[in-house]
Amino acid sequence: MIKMKLSARHLLAIAAAMAFSQAAFAQDAGRGKAVFEQCAACHSLESDHNETGPYLKNIIGRKSASIDDFIYSPAMRRANVTWTPDQIDAFLKDPQAPPFRGNRMPFAGIPDAQARADLIAYLQASGR
């Protein structure tokens, strides 16, 4: 796991890089790290290290269901999306909404938009 503290300039740069709806929230990757605790029992941030769920390193910009040695649910295989920040935000808001309905991630989602934005900032910062 990458330990980091982001400066305000970094944050601005990240925010600027993400021109999408949830970018309306000031994002804090430090807070996002705490949000990621909800994911960490099943998802690793190390490359090529699948656990109960697929690893999330380089998740931003990745095609859905694209890790070769992870067995995805049929729903996730059919979804055919690219994990942009917007797409991740929509997925985490309601993981059982179309086009992912029926996927196997046993997680109810993150209702708080700010927490989702922070988490995405953390995934961006630590996912590279």
Binding site: E37, Q38, A40, A41, C42, N50, E51, T52, I71, G102, R104, P106, F107, A108
Partner: protein
Amino acid sequence: MATRLPPVDIVIVGMGWTGGILAKELAQTGLKIVALERGAPRSTQNDFSVPLIRDELRYSQRHDLMMDVSADTYSIRNKPSETALPMRRLGSFLPGEGVGGAGAHWNGVTWRWPDHELRIRTKYEERYGKSFVPADMPLQDWGISGPELEPYYDKFEYTAGVSGKAGNIKGQIQKDGNPFEDPRARDYPLPPLVSNHASQLFAKTAKELGYHPYVRPTANASQPYTNPDGMKIGQCQYCGFCERFGCEANAKGSPHITVIPVALRNPNVELRTYTWVTKVLKDSTGKKATGVAYVNVMTGEEMEQPADLVILSAYGLSNVHLMLLSGIGKPYDPETQTGVIGKNYAYQGGANVTLFFEGKSFNPFIATGGWGTSIDDFHTNWNFDRGPHGYVGGAYISVGGSNGRPITYRPVPPGTPQWGSDWKRATAKWYHAALTIAASGAVMPNRYNYLDLDRTYTNRFGQPLMRMTFDFSENEKKINRYAAQVIGDIAKAMNPTQMGQATPRLTWSVVPYQSTHNTGGAVMGTDPATSALNKYLQSWDMPNLFVTGASAFPHNSGYNPTGPVGALAFMMADTIRNKYLKNPGSLI
């Protein structure tokens, strides 16, 4: 002819909670450890992922994660005058099998049994006199005290990620916790789970009646958690598929996501699955274990694994069975009341009542395995005077609700037909609107409740089945009748639209599910004449044999056993590391 394998330092039989704890803790010694597990390897990703794990028929009704009774089972009878018959379907209790053992499919409820349970004979005699304990009740102290076990309870709670609220930190009573618990050094690692509406209604009424409700502690994580070994536990999703199922969210403290993977990081620890231990091997003196014999159940090959130290950490009943099959310790005889192996087998009793509230909606499908609100006023509360009731023990009372699954959960008021249109209407009407108040009662040992080898029936290897002789004694009938009276009164005070009669358990049947809290048979104690193990769970007869599990409990309380099972395993590991290995031999 069995193949003799290269010797190892330690062999561990059974890879559930206690086998995992021992393997993890002893791995640090660098000694070569082999763990043998008769069932399958298991992981969350391969075995517990949704939607497969939500198969109620496969896991709940057909017991996919449990012991296979076509390979090995128990013969059962209520009293010595009856002929025992083999249990051909699992019912009353559900021993686990496979990596993680019953820890993969438990509910998570984790109690600390207080000092007055561990020193039970002394405490009752001090308070009520020597004649209070009936002659046919071989009640005995465990050989340890509450304060001695406290640090190990703590270790287990922090390893498993228990959610709860302390009731007594270093003597200070804590608001909303269980005020009757023994003092503890610190709070649980996680705050209590969110309570359901049914539990809240119960808590409100219980408080009005002067009782002390609290949210009960359970290893269902209320928040994401990283345990002291760095293992990650996810947040409980309240899915209602907990007991009898593995957790797909890694949110239930289970050995396969905590202690076992930590142990297996060490190159000196090896796990062999599908290996069924049939016997502990002994030298010519009979005082020393030399290893174990096992069968590879995939190939049928017979193996001998020599080892300097043997640890039995299978399900408690299987530990007792292995000791009987291996001729370790003298088998118990109820007529002469001599011998120790098989002695003090106990179970759990109780009472329950279901309440129906027209117009209320309890959403029973939202549930965690162990959640609920309990009162300990008639159980752990030592100030509750048992004198007028004439019993040893007590019962704790809860409203929980571990599931609202379609096959299992169909509450209907008394008098409803068991099938047809009226039943359908009733089940639709009351599904959301029912709750159950349950009392879980202690069972004290009785001279005629015991385990031995069956004379007729054998398992898949031609070995005698273990025979279980058990029924509730007068002591338990008194506990359960009084518990029924108390929960009946609470139920009336909750003012339901309808309710059944609060019914105590007065006789035991192996058919309906009751509790997987089988205790005793290889009990710990202070005297080799009345116990199989000393307080470190070391065999009196064979100092290089240690035996974990609830089989070591000299009696059963109303509480779930996993708290002390885990604590005693941690204490055993410490003792082996710090004392036994430095000077192998009898520790007492």
